[in-house]
């Protein structure tokens, strides 16, 4: 198995705080890796560094064999990394259809000339329309295509974010706490969905506090604590790890 994403001694400091401290791990093609750890462990900061939202203080990131350290977010997205956000970031005042189309637009691109003279971009337009419809249907959002995204329920907004990210047709999907705030049934459906995506060949890095879900769906789990990597292994192995139990899982799990 070859690595799709390699994180090499990644550090990110905030005014002396080592939010991420020399973290190294890889994500193989087709693998579903969980990234867990207590609040403030640095999980979202790792995501932000990968996605280009934050520049790493030190260390290197490689994607698909090429260096992406410090790339701008739009460049990282164009290379095939899509993400969702821990605090919901749907575009509230445009429709569900338009929200999802933004991902597809990011993939296919749009141009000023193409907007004025549509026949120049018929192929592109069709591709955007197709991936938008596919993503909407896959997440059961087709019925709400014309609704303003701000009017969806919390659970639907969470799905919308994933649908939008998938419309980018990424090689790597970064999910930041997709189950947070969902009820039991919704979490169950989400777990199935994430697993289906992985089985369809997508590589996924999943940050999640819902331990049963993480233990069940992930192929491998990486554990952070206070910015440092304290474990990296199969779910059973991580669950049994003494350092992980002390830092995060507690003795009862």
């Amino acid at each position: 198995m070859s690595s799709l994403l390699e994180i090499d001694r990644l550090s990110r400091h905030f005014h002396g705080l080592r939010a991420v401290d020399e973290v190294s791990f890889g994500v193989n093609r087709g693998e579903l890796v969980g990234l867990i750890g207590p609040n403030g462990a640095g999980k979202t900061t790792v995501f932000n560094c990968i996605a280009g939202t934050l520049a790493p203080t030190l260390g290197e990131l490689r994607f698909d064999g090429a260096r992406i350290t410090g790339f701008a977010p739009e460049r990282v997205a164009a290379l095939g990394i899509a993400r969702t956000f821990q605090n919901l970031r749907v575009f509230p005042d445009i429709t569900v259809y338009d929200n999802v189309s933004v991902g597809a637009i990011g993939r296919a691109g749009v141009s000023f000339a193409g907007a004025l003279l549509p026949f120049l971009e018929r192929g592109r337009t069709r591709r955007i329309a197709d991936s938008t419809s596919t993503a909407l249907e896959r997440f059961g959002l087709a019925a709400h295509a014309g609704t303003l995204a701000g009017n969806l329920s919390y659970g639907q907004k969470k799905l919308l974010e994933i649908a939008r990210a998938l419309a980018l047709e990424p090689k790597l999907l970064l999910l930041d706490e997709p189950a947070a705030g969902l009820n039991g049934n919704e979490t169950e459906a989400l777990a199935v969905l994430v697993r289906d995506l992985r089985d369809a060949g997508l590589t996924i890095l999943l940050v999640e506090h819902d331990m049963p879900m993480v233990m069940r769906v992930c192929d491998r789990i990486v554990v952070l604590d206070s910015g440092r990597l304290i474990a990296d292994g199969a779910p059973a192995q991580v669950r049994a790890d003494a350092a992980v139990r002390a830092a995060y899982l507690g003795d009862d799990s």
Binding site: E74, I94, D98, S101, G103, V110, A115, L116, F119, G146
Partner: protein
């Protein structure tokens, strides 16, 4: 698949047939002049709507590009006897270029800072026009701008003027229509809603905003070219900050981000003050009151972005432009 919208045909029919017929039957020179002014204002409002409504950049620099195009055309036609196509192309190209240069640093500014910077531009422009007497004839104003010329023909009379303006304005509005009712428009709206998130989706908000800014500058400059000929006379007083405010009012009253709203807004800001003439000294008071109350009670304008997009798209879907 490439059929224009029924709505577009309706608009074109009203502007090219119904209004001229009504002017011809019942109108006066005064009414024809108002009709021309409504059209020019509609183009300004459509251009500003692209910037404010769709791209989310609150701008008060309308008079900069409007005035730039107007003076450029006045100077070209007076000194070089240029004809209409040259003038429109010159105004469009020079407006886009100027907008691109100014926009490059400008569109990086966030919301309120952007607005204040554009206010500064409007003031700089007015002062320049007032004081660069050699070029603009300063406070005396630019008199005797020749009529529209098409090849060897000089267009005089209200009907010719009206049709020139109508065709150019419809062309400009069509450009805004294409930009807003396409996936390109979706990209701009996404950049407006959440810049960081749009970037994470692979879009480049700076490029999108810069393009919107340059297009808006270009279209406003063209509107200025029309105004220079239609009015024959330019004064620095035509291009003060308050005029930017009036275009902004047209956009907000019509509905932010809504193209039909641009026409409705232009009608309101041009015609309502005229209808209020009988009020005499109370006219400005009445106009202000109407604006104030309409914003209080209709914060989304007379025709909101959401309903206008939904309305226009019903046709786009039917034609297969977009797919559900």
């Amino acid at each position: 698949m490439n059929r224009p919208l029924p709505l577009g045909w309706l608009l074109a029919a009203v502007i090219l047939v119904v209004v001229p017929a009504a002017l011809w039957l019942f109108g006066s020179a005064y009414a024809a002049r108002l009709a021309q002014l409504v059209l020019i204002t509609a183009l300004l409002a459509a251009a500003l709507n692209l910037l404010i409504g769709t791209a989310g950049l609150l701008s008060l620099d309308t008079v900069v590009y409007y005035g730039f195009g107007a003076y450029l055309t006045a100077i070209l036609s007076t000194n070089y006897g240029t004809t209409l196509p040259t003038e429109i192309l010159a105004a469009a190209a020079a407006g886009a270029l100027l907008g691109g240069l100014i926009g490059w640093p400008l569109v990086r500014l966030a919301s309120i800072f952007f607005a204040v910077a554009t206010m500064g531009l409007a003031t700089i422009f007015h002062t320049t026009v007032l004081n660069w007497v050699d070029l603009t004839r300063g406070p005396m104003g630019y008199r005797g701008i020749p009529a529209f010329k098409l090849g060897e023909f000089t267009i005089d009379g209200w009907a010719g003027n009206y049709y020139v303006i109508a065709v150019v304005v419809l062309g400009g509005v069509w450009i805004v229509h294409r930009l807003t009712h396409s996936y390109y428009g979706n990209a701009m709206r996404a950049a407006r809603e959440d810049e960081d998130c749009a970037r994470a989706m692979g879009l480049s908000p700076h490029a999108l905003k810069l393009q919107a800014y340059a297009v808006h500058a270009s279209l406003m400059s063209v509107a200025g070219a029309l105004y220079a000929h239609a009015n024959n006379f330019l004064s620095p007083d035509n291009f003060v900050l308050l005029e930017s405010g009036l275009t902004l009012t047209a956009v907000v009253v019509g509905g932010l981000g809504s193209l039909p709203g641009a026409f409705i807004g232009a009608l309101v800001v041009v015609l309502v003050p005229e209808l209020l003439r009988p009020l005499g000294n109370l006219r400005a008071f009445g106009f202000g009151m109407i604006l104030f109350l309409s914003i209080l009670f209709l914060p989304r304008g007379l025709w909101s972005e959401v309903s206008s997009l939904a309305f226009v798209r019903r046709h786009l879907f039917r034609e297969g432009w977009l797919k559900r």
